[in-house]
């Protein structure tokens, strides 16, 4: 299958160069020129350009970046902070780590541009604790940038102090949620905060704070090199640029790829330059399009483009770009159990529906998978999910943060395959027996 809209790479364009993760290599390909240019412009002009570019957050919510930046209060005398979310832990998602490993200076240059635009003199990069190697590469890049006079008392020679620090987490998915991330940065356990107030108004240390994903900020140098109009046109609808997606599961060629906003899920799965399809004789059963909390799609829904708004009519979401493919030999009950167990494990325990609901749903799913389930169990499952977060549409959750919604949304989505759940109940066993994981499920 060939692509209907060829993709001009931007985020990954220099990854094949092994020295792109050094300052020398980065600069040899035009690195830090966009920061220099930005420092000659008014901050307001930069925020306007980001708005015009239709850049949207790549962390999960797809929130327009320029709009978020404009929420920072202008008359607040407190210091302002930029926090970079490098917690990357939504199941299915593996993209930010490759930016850190292959092109960390694109993030650092983006940070320079963003901090100048926002008037922030301190940036914390919060990386998940398991990122030993990516964090080491990033630390080295930060040290290079300081040594070269890019960061510090002056930002690339301009009278604007900027300090950039990496802080490593210690293993907690919830710290990817932006207010839990702020709590963790403040040295506490990662308990999400009630919103409002939003971080832009009351964020880190009680000060105005912008939280952005690694990919969002790493995109800025290319965005300014090519121009905001070009970037908007490259995308589709209200989603500018390209995006990184991680393709996992039952495809011949899993991996992390840069796709266009017009690239369809079908192209991602089957195209030569991407997933190269499934093994002979296998067909797609379901695809989770945006990290494990995004409601699953059926094989009939794969014509959808990767653009952020395109998933709304399907009551799913583009999320964090984690595309998980399940083939026709894969057990949907077992798959859902695995997803919901994750949210049960990672619930921070603050809200009752999430703390009790996720483990409850996990237990029911295990029971059905093992052939001990009843029709009442299946009803209870849906009832619990609905009491946590009614559906459709997405976004009706009753909890402090969206982790509560996540497990519930996964359950709602998998009800597209309700027949398979009923089959488990009727046959009192898993129809897939000892091999529930499909085409590539055996360890070899």
């Amino acid at each position: 299958m060939s692509l209907q809209h060829p993709v001009e790479k931007i985020v990954t364009r220099y990854w094949p160069h092994k020295d792109q993760n050094t300052l020398k290599g980065y600069k040899s390909r035009g690195g830090y020129q966009q920061l220099a240019k930005a420092l000659g412009q008014e901050p307001a002009a930069i925020i306007d350009a980001v708005k015009k570019s239709n850049l949207r957050g790549r962390g999960g919510a797809g929130f327009p970046t320029g709009l978020k930046w404009s929420f920072l209060p202008k008359d607040n005398p407190k210091p302002k902070y930029l926090c970079i979310n490098a917690d990357e832990s939504e199941p299915g998602t593996a993209k930010d780590r490759f930016i850190l490993e292959n092109d960390p200076h694109s993030l650092l240059e983006g940070i320079g541009i963003a901090c100048w635009a926002l008037g922030a003199h301190t940036c914390y990069i919060y990386a998940r604790g398991e990122f030993k190697h990516p964090s080491a590469v990033l630390d080295k890049a930060i040290a290079e940038a300081y040594a070269d006079g890019i960061f510090g008392k002056k930002l690339l020679g301009k009278d604007f102090e900027l300090n950039v620090y990496q802080v490593r987490g210690a293993g907690a998915y919830i710290c990817g949620e932006e207010t839990a991330l702020l709590e963790s940065l403040e040295g506490k356990k990662g308990w999400p905060r009630l919103k409002p107030p939003f971080p832009a108004v009351v964020g880190l240390f009680g000060c105005p704070t912008i939280v952005n994903n690694v990919e969002t900020i790493s995109t800025l140098p290319a965005l300014f090199e090519k121009g905001p109009e070009w970037f908007a046109n490259l995308g589709s609808g209200k989603s500018g640029g390209n995006r990184l997606v991680t393709l996992s599961g039952a495809v011949n060629r899993p991996g992390t790829f840069e796709v266009g906003m017009k690239t369809t899920l079908k192209e991602l799965i089957y195209a030569e330059e991407y997933g190269q399809g499934l093994p002979p004789g296998r067909a797609v059963k379901g695809v989770i399009p945006g990290g494990s909390s995004a409601p699953v799609l059926t094989a009939d829904e794969l014509g959808v483009a990767m653009e952020f708004d395109a998933f709304k009519p399907l009551n799913s979401m583009a999320g964090s770009g984690g595309v998980i493919v399940m083939d026709d030999m894969c057990c949907m009950v077992r798959s859902l159990w695995r997803v919901v167990r994750f949210y049960a494990e990672e619930s921070c325990g603050q809200c009752t529906p999430c703390r009790d609901g996720q483990p409850w749903m996990t237990r029911i799913l295990r029971k059905i998978e093992e052939g001990r389930g009843t029709r009442e169990d299946l009803e209870t499952l849906q009832h619990v999910a609905t009491s946590m977060a009614p559906y459709p549409p997405i976004g009706l959750g009753n909890t402090i943060c969206a982790l509560g919604d996540s497990g519930a949304l996964a359950v709602h989505g998998f009800m597209k395959f309700k027949r398979e759940f009923e089959q488990h109940i009727e046959e009192k066993r898993c129809p897939f027996g000892e091999r529930p994981w499909g085409a590539f499920g055996d360890f070899q």
Partner: protein, 164 residues
Amino acid sequence: MEMHHAAMTADDTARLEQGIAKLLERYPKDRKSAAMLPALRLLQEIKGWLVPDGVKRVATLLETTPERAHEVATFYIMYFTEKPGRYVIDVCTNLPCALRGAEGMLKYMEAKLGTVAGTNGDKFYLRETECLASCGTAPCMQVNEDHHENLTKAKVDAILEKLS
């Protein structure tokens, strides 16, 4: 790292104090306790786990209470409030990895190491863990935080062989 003794030596304390002084440069002066996560990581690097005396010391240095330090130490799974086996092996069994054989891999390792996931032993502490951002390069695991991906039986054998 054979520093698994529970007591803080004078040398341990000096290293901790020096390290924390450096960490504090990154935070506002009135926000010392913000350094809690990196400070606990440092303690764990020095002692191999979060020895109670060390956690108290961290709390004092960050001008907060031992309870606060303990609360953080127990919230995050990468901190060990009890001495772990010499090799902590975290195997991801989340959905994308499971679709590439992770459940079989975990069973294979349990048999090979003669342990059951979740049991802390002297030599091995094998654990099931959640997504490690290797979904497109699955299955994967971490051995004492070193990341291994695209795993096969042959690769797992080679990795385990090196753990003496």
